[in-house]
């Protein structure tokens, strides 16, 4: 039987501009990192621009998959975000128009019409 050719797979990552992270693009078969870069450039950047290109041999990549991460974010984690603090905007606006007195009471002349959103 004829011997079958085999190649290493290189994963390709590119950065669109200096402030962006490197993002996975696709992969190529190549014999060396140099060749992988040369091939990646021609395959994936004929139109798109990049400021930096990485190639990484696939067998050098260690990964965690969706299956392993199934558990993440399953219990509520709103406390990590600004989600529960949306009410602050209305409060700041209210106190801008109706500043509190030093004792915490409402300033004089304020009517109760601008109900607080809490």
């Amino acid at each position: 039987m004829e011997e079958r050719l085999d190649f290493a797979v290189y994963e390709v990552f590119a950065q669109a501009d200096a402030l962006s992270p490197h993002v996975h693009v696709f992969n190529v078969l190549a014999s060396s990192p140099d060749m992988a870069m040369a091939l990646a450039e021609e395959n994936f950047f004929r139109r798109a621009e990049f400021v930096s290109l990485w190639v990484v041999r696939r067998d050098q990549i260690h990964h965690i998959g969706h299956h392993d991460r199934e558990g993440f974010k399953k219990t509520p984690k709103a406390y990590r975000t600004t989600e529960d603090y949306k009410y602050l905007r209305d409060k700041w606006r209210y106190y801008r128009d109706h500043p509190m007195n030093p004792d915490g009471s409402e300033a004089e002349g304020v009517t109760g019409d601008a109900a607080m959103d809490d």
Partner: protein, 315 residues
């Protein structure tokens, strides 16, 4: 840095900076640029690492389940910012054969300073609120400026940091708002914390430049590492926060504080800048205690780091 005596390499580097190119870790850079960056970023990194400690004092004591969760997430973020920044600093220090162990050592021996605010005491829960609202508010103003930094890895780290600071500030606002709207005891706690933090907040931006910028500042502006003066940043802080503080009926402990209606310039009582210098040279109210806490636990954890330092993989 007399620009007429530059080598071609140096001239090309400055040209890149001038046209807004971002510099990467493995690009050629003048040794002076590298030094300025390491000085700034290592200081920022240890300020995050030490900056976790004042609020951390309130993490196990936070009043409700929700506050316990939120403040743990917030302080964890600060440690995470320390991680991002110390990694950026380490890559810059590599040509000198140094790494984070040297940064921590410099912190513990006093060669590397950290922000004045993190030397202060946090005696009540309101301090945790004021730090989130106003200290992080001040930090976002300075970090927002640094997003345009010519050194790309620092700018990328700051982008992540500033994004998370949005959550920190609202977390702090929410604590302070609840105290302001709360019982007389809660309001008094908040006013007391504001009184104690006000001078430290003004100091945070550094002494005002009279007519002259320091050599470090001039270089950093030339290298596009920073773009604003201390005073410009402090003015921005006043504009953003003074009216909000007043709207909660709180008193700012500076009767002279006012804004010129035409120039919009704020005039204010200068904090004691000699005191500032004492504080940042590790003679603040909690400097010794916090450095002691951090260095003892760091030394005692050395065996753990040894366990994972270039050890054979286990699986």
């Amino acid at each position: 840095m007399p620009e007429e005596t530059l080598t071609d390499q140096e001239a090309y580097f400055l040209e890149r900076v001038d046209r807004g190119d971002r510099i990467e870790a493995d690009d050629w850079m003048p040794e002076d640029y590298r030094q300025q960056l390491v000085r700034l970023i290592a200081m920022h990194a240890v300020s995050e690492i030490m900056g976790a400690l004042p609020e951390k004092e309130w993490v196990p004591r936070a009043p409700t389940l929700y506050r316990k969760l939120a403040i743990t997430a917030k302080v964890q973020d600060e440690v995470g910012h320390g991680q991002l920044l110390i990694r950026v600093a380490e890559d810059l220090m590599r040509p000198w054969g140094k790494n984070r162990e040297d940064v921590m050592d410099d912190l513990f021996t006093g060669r590397l300073k950290y922000h004045n605010v993190f030397h202060m005491a946090t005696p009540t829960w309101a301090d945790a609120g004021v730090i989130g609202w106003l200290v992080d508010g001040a930090a976002v103003i300075t970090q927002g400026m640094s997003l345009s930094c010519s050194y790309a890895p620092y700018a990328r780290a700051l982008q992540r940091i500033v994004e998370e600071e949005g959550f920190h500030i609202q977390h702090g606002e929410s604590i302070c708002m609840a105290l302001a709207e709360g019982t007389p005891m809660q309001r008094a706690m908040l006013q007391d914390a504001l009184n104690r933090w006000w001078p430290a907040l003004l100091m945070f931006f550094g002494p005002p430049e009279k007519s002259q910028l320091s050599t470090h500042q001039l270089r950093n502006i030339r290298y596009r590492i920073r773009s604003k003066t201390n005073e410009e940043l402090r003015q921005r802080f006043f504009s953003k926060y003074v009216h909000r503080i007043w709207s909660l009926g709180l008193t700012i402990p500076d009767p002279t504080l006012q804004q010129d209606p035409f120039t919009k310039e704020w005039t204010y009582q200068q904090p004691d800048w000699d005191e500032f210098r004492r504080i940042v040279s590790n003679h603040g109210p909690r400097s010794e205690a916090r450095l002691g806490l951090r260095s003892t636990t760091y030394q005692e954890g050395e065996w753990v780091r040894r366990t994972i330092a270039l050890s054979p993989a286990v699986g």
